[in-house]
Amino acid sequence: MSEDTMYFFWDLGQYLINGLTQGSIYALVALGYTMVYGIIKLINFAHGEFYMIGAFIGYYIILAGVPLYLAFPIAMLGSGLIAVIIERLVYRPIRHAGRIPALITALGISLFFQYLGQMLIGADPKAFPAAIEEKTYIFGEIMITNIQVIILVATFVLMVVLWWLVNHTRIGKAMRATSYNHDAAELMGIDTNKIISFTFFIGAALAGAAGVLVGMYYTTVEPMMGLIPGLKAFIAAVLGGIGIIPGAVLGGLTLGVAENLVVGFWVSTYRDAVAFAILIIILLIKPAGILGKNRKEKV
């Protein structure tokens, strides 16, 4: 093998590692998009803000001296509870008003949190406190940091827990029943309002965890930080098939890897353009997403 080819493979390995790290973050956020869509058919454009809220909860409590292993659950709980409150106060009263009013409301909530954050915290980026010392491991020409390892492991663990919750617990089965049809679920005695609240909680908690992870990874947080990753996670959810949980993971990882390959082998400023190009292409070619079945609409 010539030296050039060898370096190509080292580079490729590096971009894949970086892509999977970035993709893990997208996947965690995309899961909430897809779960909320699955249960009430709402594209929750405010979902990226729960990621920002999680990042800031992490920022403040780590500054206050709370250890990292506690900062995670607290940030998840905080983001989750705020999402539950928003669902109860804002989305529930308009649930039967139709999809477009709900979508516009979600955009409003998104702007509300972005500007509330700027008002309360200020628009300038804050340096995320170093919760742990960063270490770099080197394999040949590939570098991987302990923070990347934490992101990959934490994402994997959260996904396994989510998979178990959705497939093997009573409440998870009730979520799947509710996402099929609210009336049918109610006829089983399932309190669908509670299940919807719970779904918002889980989705936002995952986004909150992603927020803390990204704070550690990129070391800055700011009130607008949820906007672009929120849109990327939406693209990831659509790419995998919106409403389909494994699809969000697949879409997130695919998007993260694709972006990093663009950055590495092409031009780094094309990264966002490529993400949106992927959205347009998937909508043209297979609007149901990679894992989506082209089902007949329920009557």
């Binding site: 009573r170 089965k173 009730a174 799947r176 029943a177 099929y180 049809n181 009336d183 049918a184 679920a185 109610e186 006829l187 089983m188 005695g189 399932i190 309190d191 669908t192």
Partner: protein, 239 residues
């Protein structure tokens, strides 16, 4: 023997927006009976069942279950009081297995040992479901889905079972099996309110019947009399 009234509907009206779907119906179901509501498409049969189950709210009138008003309650609360429904179109959860569908039927129950017995009872009543217990419900045939919908409703251990058109779109041989199962459940003490277009089959197994036309009760009486009634023969029995 004293008859105990399980369900009583008094002057119930239901509106869908501006449409006045049910115009003040009165109906009673006594403990241990099979009562059937007959009527053609659009007569208001499903609307009536949805209102009893709490998926729709009456605009006027009362629904009493064991003497207590239930018409203001949410659907999931009504299930907890002891009314279960196998809905029109079956509405089994397609992405859940047969067993998981039955688990959802037992969602509110905590008596594990009794739940296990009821799974067995349902598997005996509908052996097809046992064979397919690990299969996704969406892969079942229409008749099997209907069996699952009835079994799932039974799993909440209700006192009153509402069945909405269990014969709709199902092969005749399976219709017979399903009606036999309904009789079997009733013999074991289950009270059943059966909504049907298939007037002959349902009058044969019912104790009493109501005929609904465009939101009003047009006729009521013992099933044995309704089955002999000339008007009903002409309108519903095809001779």
């Amino acid at each position: 023997m004293t008859t105990e009234t399980l369900l009583e509907i008094k002057d119930m009206h239901v509106h869908y927006g501006a449409i006045h779907a049910i115009h003040g119906i009165n109906l009673k179901v006594n403990k241990g009976e099979i009562v059937t509501i007959l009527g053609s498409n659009g007569a208001g049969k499903t609307t009536s069942l949805h209102t009893i189950s709490g998926l729709l709210k009456p605009s006027k009138g009362e629904i009493l279950f064991k003497g207590k008003r239930i018409d203001h309650l949410k659907a999931n609360k009504i299930v907890s009081l002891g009314i279960a429904q196998s809905p029109e179109g079956r509405m089994v959860f397609p992405d859940l297995s047969v067993k998981e569908n039955l688990e959802m039927g037992a969602y509110l129950r905590r008596d594990k040992a009794e739940i296990e017995k009821d799974y067995e009872y349902m598997y005996n009543l509908f052996p097809k479901l046992k064979e397919r217990s690990a299969q996704l419900a969406g892969t079942l045939s229409g008749g099997e889905q209907q069996m699952l919908a009835i079994a799932r409703a039974y799993m909440s251990k209700p006192e009153l079972l509402l069945l909405d058109e269990p014969s709709l779109g199902i092969a005749p041989i399976l219709v017979q099996a399903i009606f036999n199962a309904i009789v079997e459940l009733n013999k074991k003490g289950m009270t059943i309110l059966l909504v049907e277009q298939n007037a002959y089959a349902s009058l044969k197994i019912a104790h009493r019947g109501y005929v609904l036309t465009t939101g009003e009760i047009f006729m009521e009486g013992p099933a044995s009399e309704l089955i002999e009634n000339d008007e009903i023969k002409k309108a519903y029995l095809g001779h």
